[in-house]
């Protein structure tokens, strides 16, 4: 029989100790999971931290920045705010600024978005036949962001190397 010395520690454990090791691992994973779910509950957004993926919001946000979102019902969306939204049928959320809002008496709103660095508004990105976004498409509104201090040239060079 092969003598696998590194497994000696495992073999020396009895059932309880093995179970405790499994539980230890489970607790680490659970702690991370619970912190994430807790953030979801506190902010009200289904994805409280997102990464900016494109350069459509430069010079405000660059690719790789982290955004912290909230999605509270009592904060209304206003023109000029940065929202993260999902288009029906697409998985990847988009970070753009609100351009126009139509609001009804009962609080129901329709709004139009555009990226700061884009030439046209987002109507071309929306679903076929959709001209406005609604509250239900919103993942959250940007409340804070984290940016590493790296110069633009360095970042472009990095992405070139990564093949993006």
């Amino acid at each position: 029989m092969l003598s696998l010395d590194f497994l000696d520690d495992v073999r020396r454990m009895n059932k309880r100790q093995l179970y405790y090791q499994v539980l230890n691992f489970g607790m680490i994973v659970s702690s991370a999971l619970m912190i994430w779910k807790g953030l979801m509950v506190i902010t009200g957004s289904e994805s409280p931290i997102v990464v900016v993926l494109s350069g459509s919001m430069e010079p405000a946000f660059h690719r790789g920045d982290l955004l912290f979102l909230t999605n509270r019902v009592e904060d209304p969306i206003r023109v000029g705010e940065i929202v993260v939204f999902r288009i029906e049928g697409r998985e990847i959320p988009i970070v753009h600024r609100v351009l126009k809002i139509h609001e009804k008496q009962n609080g129901h709103i329709k709004f139009l978005t555009k990226g700061d660095n884009n030439a046209v508004d987002d109507r071309g990105l929306y679903k076929q036949g959709q001209h406005w976004l609604e509250k239900k498409d919103v993942v959250g509104r940007a409340r804070g962001f984290y940016q590493e201090n790296r110069s633009v040239e360095d970042r472009n060079y990095l992405f070139l190397i990564l093949g993006l």
């Binding site: 010395d5 659970s30 807790g38 509950v41």
Partner: protein
Amino acid sequence: MAAASAQGGRTGGGGGSSGAGGGLSCGTGSSRSGLLDKWKIDDKPVKIDKWDGSAVKNSLDDSAKKVLLEKYKYVENFGLIDGRLTICTISCFFAIVALIWDYMHPFPESKPVLALCVVSYFVMMGILTIYTSYKEKSIFLVAHRKDPTGMDPDDIWQLSSSLKRFDDKYTLKLTFISGRTKQQREAEFTKSIAKFFDHSGTLVMDAYEPEISRLHDSLATERKIK
């Protein structure tokens, strides 16, 4: 040379566990039980990385446990350990419930259940911290000596140890709680781990076992004198 002395110590001091030693060397016998016997290595000399503090402490703790359980034939009580395992299991259970519920009912509807699970999880974490700090402390073995006459409640022996990070002084504390009088007595020793391990990291039971026996006897004889 050091390995030879360790082997000598094993056959000398391991009289009680010679049955398991036979199982280790059998190759052809019944297949399933033979495989399990080969998997367990209770008899192999303990060899660990001597620079890894937690491995050293674990091996010393395990060997002290073995001495008390095998030499003096005490029965281990798993109450403390089971308590900790239960708390951890309940915490993981809350986490799993939160995960599955959120998957079945996507986010906004699952908010109350999620909030409940998150709060419960952190409450359980708090309970676990309190439990390990105050109830369990650093005790790793609770053993009972069954009273031979069967009339008095059991005597309880508790082992706890500490080894500071990057330090070589290992402290082992043995506590004796008499079943009859509920009195508590304790004895401890602090020694450098270099006294028990050879240069390759093998635990030398010849040097370690007399220490444990000395602690044990010092607590046992006091009782007789009283």
